[in-house]
Amino acid sequence: MISLLDILAILGVVLLLVVLRALRREHIRVEHSVSWLAAAAALIVLSRSGALLEKAAPLIGVQEPPLVLLMLILIVFLGVFYRFSRIVSELKDMNITLTQRVAILEFHLREKNGKA
């Protein structure tokens, strides 16, 4: 029977492949793929480290070792989401500033040519 750790390992491999495919097709920039690749690699390695998870489980008060990995996944992915929210916000601010600047420059150009 397939265990929860096996499912998580498969998820890690799928995530790794999806991100590598997106990189190859230039859908994701390299600097933005690092977080996802690190998360996928951590998922694969930890899901194959049953002994490590068994040792960690009592330290954080959970009975089942796979729950340790699920908690770690949650923390890592929250971190990734937060990082990308910051990136998107910064990009939006820059985009607005650039859009306004382009419009103002075009306005000055039209004024200069007597077309505003």
């Binding site: 607005i96 859009t99 306004q100 382009v102 419009a103 103002i104 075009e106 306005f107 004024e111 505003a116």
Partner: protein, 250 residues
Amino acid sequence: MVDGSRTLILIPAFNEAAAIGAVVREVRQHLPGWPVLVVDDGSADGTAAEARAAGARVLSLPCHLGLGGCVQAGYKLAFELGYEEVVRIDGDGQHDPRHIPMLLETLRRSGCEMAIGVRTADGARGATLARRAGIWCFRMLLRPILGRPVTDPTSGFVAVNRRALEVFARSFPLEYPEIETLVVLQRRRFRFVEAPAPARPRLAGKSSITPLRSVYYVVHVLLGVFVNILRLDARRAARAVGEQLDDQPS
């Protein structure tokens, strides 16, 4: 007659082709010689062409930014061009341009940084029940934050002087700016004044605030208000203004 040669009439517009021409012509008819700038927020219906044909100068944004980004673009240009004041009216014809000199006079006489045209005595008459409830909530929320009552916090009919213009050119709320703007001003220890300016029915189109969007509007504005209160740069600016005032001889 109020001198408007250093005052820019700013009209943000998004898909207002049916109304913008009449709005610009009415402003030019009542206030001949006053500079009029329409900021076209990436409209797809010929708003910019209609505004130009009516005699306005047009700042065309290459893509849709939303009301805050659109108004801020106008403020930035006005600041760069050296205008002393900007009066903002809506592009749907709700605001009567005959009230503009009165609002400007109020701004100048008061010494405040912003003057708000109050559409009705309670700021909400004629609006839907949900909208009236929303405006009432905002008024209750803003009173302790601003330290004074505000009658019509969602009015888009406002006049600002160059000090406010400088601040708004650098930092301006993006989506639903009217209420957050008051908090931005308050954090910098700027002041506002209100003057009655009854609104009219819009010439064309309908409000973008649907019942569903109004829920998002309320949540967004509440969050924006609290973020502005917490924002560090605003606190530093307020402190700096306070120190300048303290340094001035009494």
